[in-house]
């Protein structure tokens, strides 16, 4: 059997065997519909509520503040559109960062077509949002020029907790504080704070109260749970308009028969993360730093993307001079290593990653990017193997490239 090393944990993770075991009874035995009155249904309902509590605990939220969805994309869509639609008569200004996941970027773009005004903040070369910029951009009292009388004061700030490509962790607590202060000063014009925590949930500590977060999205398949389960934390008292109308599941905010087996898996995955987070983060940070140090030392013309310290424990992202990302990914794949790139050639749009461009990389530099993300089962020997093969891959591709340095 050929060596296969998975270094793409930010894309998705395998289901932890303990999670799988927890899920199995809910496929064929405890299969009831949570809305049914009989014992099958009530059994499922009970499990659902236990799961809700477990997921809530991980971010210090109340169980009733969690609703389950099918994906982080759905949660993010619901957060943005849900807040926007619920408040459109009084406020129409939304602030996001330029390095959000496409589901935020595109939802914001859609809302722009619906009469909302979007401010896209800038980030520094590490991908960090300056909380001072948030302070400048929020505007709780601005009068609007739009004809129907709605005010263009700020209703929502949505800044991701950690970036999926470069791993940079944003100053969420500081931003939360700024929004809280504005809300105290202008109680008549409440600004909501949403964060997409798809990459950080279960990996680094989150406390929605300490961080003053009103809405938070997270997904099961990024933390060794199954695909098809995710959640949106909505602070008690925050009103949103649902997108999916129907039977009134999840407090009427997300109609759809509840995916109990996947949610049980999500909860079990969250439970394991809560228990293991500290140890796992420590282990991964060590491996990550070994990987980063090794790559930068061994390969000329290599550069780290993202912040050297304020980054997810499992994320390493580089760009290499004179090589193209897709070629790197496929060459590594042929050598048994799974990785990813922000190069245009690998995307459906044939445009380089908006995140890498936002941190100031030129398109030709973004084409040479490589993301390696570690996880629960990453071994030191795998990092050693990567450090052995990656310099060879780069050397080979540079030899083919017309832009190599010539003697």
């Amino acid at each position: 059997m050929k060596k296969r090393i998975y270094l793409d944990y930010a894309a998705t993770t395998p289901v932890d065997p303990k999670v799988k075991k927890a899920m199995l009874p809910y496929l064929s035995q405890k299969f009831g519909n949570t809305m049914s009155l009989h014992s099958f249904g009530q059994e499922a309902r009970e499990t659902l509520e236990e799961s809700r509590k477990t997921v809530a605990d991980l971010i210090k939220a109340k169980a009733k503040e969690i609703i389950f969805t099918s994906s982080a994309t759905e949660s993010n869509n619901l957060a943005l559109k849900g807040i926007a639609l619920a408040n459109r008569e009084k406020s129409r200004h939304i602030i996001i960062s330029p390095i959000e996941h496409p589901c935020i970027m595109e939802s914001a773009k859609f809302l722009e077509t619906q009469g909302f005004e979007i401010t896209r903040l800038k980030v520094d070369k590490y991908g960090l949002v300056d909380p001072g910029d948030v302070k400048k951009a929020i505007n709780p009292i601005r009068k609007s020029s739009i004809s129907n009388g709605a005010r263009k004061n700020t209703i929502l700030v949505s800044i991701m907790h950690a970036n999926n490509e470069i791993g940079t962790i944003e100053p969420i607590e500081e931003i939360g504080k700024i929004i809280k202060e504005s809300n105290i000063q202008h109680p008549e014009s409440r600004i909501y704070f949403h964060t997409d925590a798809a990459q950080s949930f279960g990996k680094i500590p989150i406390d929605v109260n300490k961080m003053n977060i009103d809405l938070l999205s997270a997904s099961s398949h990024k933390l060794y749970g199954p695909k098809g389960a995710a959640c949106l934390f909505i602070r008690e008292g925050v009103k949103i308009t649902p997108i999916l109308h129907g039977g009134g599941h999840e407090g009427g905010l997300r109609s759809s028969t509840v995916n109990v087996p996947a949610i049980v898996g999500f909860a079990e995955a969250a439970r394991i993360c809560e228990r293991e987070m500290r140890r796992e983060a420590e282990k991964l940070t060590k491996l990550r730093d070994k990987l980063i140090k090794g790559v930068l030392e061994k390969i000329d013309g290599s550069h780290l993307n993202g912040h050297p310290k304020k980054r997810l424990p499992n994320n390493a992202n580089f760009w290499f001079e004179f090589v193209e990302g897709e070629s790197m990914v496929i060459q590594l794949d042929l050598l048994g290593v799974a990785s990813s790139t922000g190069s245009a050639c690998s995307s459906a749009k044939l445009e380089p990653s908006h995140v890498l461009l936002a941190i100031g990389l030129k398109p030709q530099e973004a084409h040479g990017s490589l993301r390696l993300t570690l996880g629960r089962w990453t071994k030191e020997s795998e990092i050693r193997y990567l450090l052995k093969v990656l310099p060879e891959v780069i050397k080979k591709l540079r030899k083919i490239s017309p832009f190599k340095k010539h003697e």
């Binding site: 896209r120 070629s327 496929i330 459906a348 398109p363 490239s401 017309p402």
Partner: protein
């Protein structure tokens, strides 16, 4: 399926072991196509000689490419297709020949086959014009198209890069 991931086995073979790869010293013609901003740049070098009948042929051909798997594979395969061919024959090689020789390309990568065919055209044009030869009508037309597309891409990306830069300054 005769495929490895996105690509055919043939593409992967060329990608793993590209044919005629590297820089050529004192080439008779060079074709430079693509744009680093789009992520694909192809340089093709040719050496022209004569066959037994005294016809001019592509005696040697080499390439250097920065780009994705498809860009590298199309570069490699076009050198195979052109090597030993007369100038007239080489000018007839088109994108479909490239795609066919590779057993197909994913739809989103078809533009790479155009790039490879264009690189060969450019190299031959370079040779002919350097030697003050008459340029066949068809070649003149192809070149006009290549030049036009080159300008369009530069124009398109100039605007796009400006937007990005402005966004960054904000």
């Amino acid at each position: 399926m005769n495929k490895i991931g996105l690509y055919t086995k043939k593409v992967i073979e060329h990608f793993k072991n590209p044919h005629n790869m590297g820089r050529m010293k004192n080439p008779d013609g060079i074709g430079k196509v693509g744009n680093i901003i789009c992520g694909d740049v192809m340089w093709l070098y040719i050496k022209v000689g004569k066959d037994k009948k005294g016809r001019e042929i592509i005696k040697n051909i080499k390439f250097e490419t920065f780009g994705c798997v498809a860009a590298l594979a199309t570069s490699s395969v076009i050198t195979d297709l052109a090597k030993g061919k007369t100038i007239e024959e080489a000018l007839k090689i088109n994108r479909n020949d490239v795609v066919k020789s590779l057993g197909g390309l994913p739809p989103i990568k078809l533009h790479c086959s155009v790039l490879a065919a264009d690189a060969l055209t450019e190299a031959i044009y370079d040779y002919l014009s350097k030697n003050k030869r008459e340029i066949p009508k068809e070649l003149r037309e192809t070149r006009q198209r290549i030049e036009k597309e080159k300008k369009e891409i530069e124009e398109r990306y100039k605007e796009w890069i400006k937007i990005e830069e402005e966004m960054h300054k904000k």
